[in-house]
């Protein structure tokens, strides 16, 4: 599971959950893959991301020091930041671990790189 996907995942399907976002990552095994760096893609994705959730996720995975706390102005020209973002969003993958709902503490397991977000009958 890449961190860019985590930025969109929520546990709102569970009954009585208001936000269900962001999910806490407990990463047992993390892997790096190589993805070609594309400036346009990263600069266009940034406004669609939730920045706080991203820093939170980076913290859970151990890459906290790379990102500033708030999104700086003029990020399109900051190549350094864009490359760091590219690495964190696309190249870091959580292979084993779990995601935890912030409100109900329900754990969604991640195995073989795939998070299982299926809900049980009673949670719906």
């Amino acid at each position: 599971m890449k961190l860019i996907t985590h930025n969109m995942l929520t546990s709102k399907g569970i009954k009585n959950v208001k936000e269900g976002f962001p999910l806490k990552i407990q990463a047992d095994e993390v892997k790096n893959v190589d993805i070609d760096f594309d400036r346009e893609f990263i600069s266009r994705m940034i406004p669609k991301l939730d920045w706080n959730a991203l820093t939170f996720a980076a913290q859970c995975v151990g890459h906290q020091e790379d990102l500033p706390d708030t999104l700086p102005e003029g990020y399109e020209n900051d190549d350094d930041l864009l490359k760091k973002l590219h690495h964190i969003l696309l190249e870091v993958e959580v292979i084993n671990g779990c995601l935890e709902c912030p409100e109900t503490q329900r754990k969604f397991p991640i195995s073989n790189g795939i998070p299982n977000m299926l809900l049980n009958e009673d949670e719906v």
């Binding site: 599971m1 890449k2 860019i4 996907t5 969109m8 995942l9 929520t10 546990s11 709102k12 399907g13 976002f21 893959v33 190589d34 993805i35 070609d36 594309d38 346009e40 893609f41 600069s43 266009r44 994705m45 669609k48 939730d50 696309l90 073989n112 790189g113 795939i114 998070p115 299982n116 977000m117 299926l118 809900l119 719906v124």
Partner: protein
């Protein structure tokens, strides 16, 4: 390509039409592409002879069944035993210049080159070729093999290339439909529709169709494409190999399918492909994604034949359309959905018309089934309070949906 190629009723006239047709395509262009792809050493088209015969007259005494007998067996039978009518046959066989007698007779792909007696001996040089003919439609009064023979005869006459049905270097495809005919040059040895897949599942969409579905959605850089019912993730994979400026997500509720997706993706990543793609396991009727975070949905919905059932479809299509509407950006969002089950789809599109506006739809042939691709545009309405997720179990009367 020639449109409105209507075939006359007379069989001989059809042959004539096909024979003459061989002059029409732009051979130079086709051959230059072919030459580049296959690195053929010399220029394939040396000289072009005009077609002067009416058509390749099929020899009345040769029919394909008899040909099976004449090739090897006859040579080995001693003269005395050989019956009279077959004895005579042997002479014309040696005179024939380039005829390859293919003993395996199949319906669609046999081409045998004929030498009618008035034709000159053609100097055979250039690439070895064959013609394959595929026909669709039932109102032709000739067979694919005959069509291929006519066309091949003309090509051989025009360019002087030798014919070889098995060890060929150049394959020319002749597609005859009810309305139009087109001629193609084969550039790949293996079919393209099975590319990129290693772990096959119960229903796999051809990679070529997947690519075109993603193309129909016209993805822009920085967008997010989701396939909520991805199966083996063929659609996200094809998309991510071509459109690398877009994030592709896929998900399925079936564990085996998700495992297959992982295998497929890992295989390509190992080969060094860079793919911005991710897969999750989720329920399409309850997608674990935030509102309005996705731009495009491209999906191959279960037809209800091999996977699921028509009854399930009625509920599934409705629920997934609602969930897709929730996660897709209003105004600019779009969906490209493929299904065979038109009834369920049309009914449910009408039900959710406040959220999804139907644009065009295209019919497509999937392995014999007449399926339809629906292109939908997201309206500006954020959510419709009247539309709620339907629960599958009917124990509780109405379950409030989440928005």
């Amino acid at each position: 390509m020639v449109t409105n190629f209507s075939f006359p009723d007379n069989r001989e006239q059809c042959f004539q039409q096909l024979y003459k047709f061989a002059e029409k395509p732009d051979w130079r262009k086709g051959m230059s592409v072919w030459k580049n792809v296959f690195s053929f050493p010399e220029e394939p088209i040396q000289e072009v002879k005009a077609l002067n015969n009416d058509y390749c007259k099929p020899r009345p005494d040769i029919d394909l069944k008899r040909m099976k007998l004449t090739s090897q067996i006859i040579d080995n039978i001693p003269e005395g035993i050989l019956p009279q009518h077959l004895k005579k046959k042997r002479q014309p066989e040696e005179e024939q210049t380039n005829a390859e007698i293919n003993s395996a007779v199949t319906d669609t792909t046999v081409e045998s080159e004929e030498d009618s007696s008035e034709k000159q001996r053609v100097q055979a040089s250039g690439p070895k070729f064959r013609i394959s003919c595929n026909r669709t439609g039932t109102n032709h009064n000739f067979g694919s093999s005959e069509a291929a023979r006519q066309f091949g005869g003309a090509v051989n006459e025009m360019f002087g290339w030798p014919v070889d049905l098995s060890c060929f270097e150049l394959e020319i495809l002749l597609y005859i439909d009810t309305e139009f005919v087109y001629v193609g040059v084969c550039l790949t040895r293996e079919p393209l529709f099975k590319r990129n897949l290693t772990n096959f599942g119960r229903t796999n969409l051809r990679s070529t169709i997947c690519y075109n579905m993603v193309r129909l959605a016209a993805p822009q850089p920085g967008e997010v494409i989701v396939d909520p019912l991805c199966g083996g993730a063929t659609i996200p994979m094809e998309g991510s190999l071509t459109y690398s400026k877009v994030l592709h997500l896929g998900g399925d509720n079936f564990g085996q399918a998700v495992k297959r997706s992982r295998d497929n993706i890992d295989y390509l990543v190992k080969k060094g492909k860079s793919m911005p793609i991710d897969v999750a396991q989720w329920d399409a009727a309850r997608l674990p994604l935030r509102n309005q975070c996705v731009d495009i949905i491209v999906s191959d919905l279960p037809f209800g034949k091999r996977i699921g059932s028509k009854g399930d479809n009625r509920v599934l299509y409705y629920n997934s359309l609602l969930e897709m509407a929730r996660i897709t950006r209003t105004g600019t969002g779009r969906a490209v959905l493929l299904t065979h089950d038109r009834n369920s789809m049309m009914r449910n599109i009408k039900r959710v018309h406040t959220l999804w506006k139907s644009a065009t739809s295209r019919t497509i042939n999937i392995g014999g089934l007449s399926a339809v691709i629906y292109i939908l545009h997201r309206t500006a309405l954020l959510f419709d309070p009247n539309l709620k997720i339907a629960s599958k179990t009917h124990k509780k009367p109405s379950e409030p949906g989440e928005f």
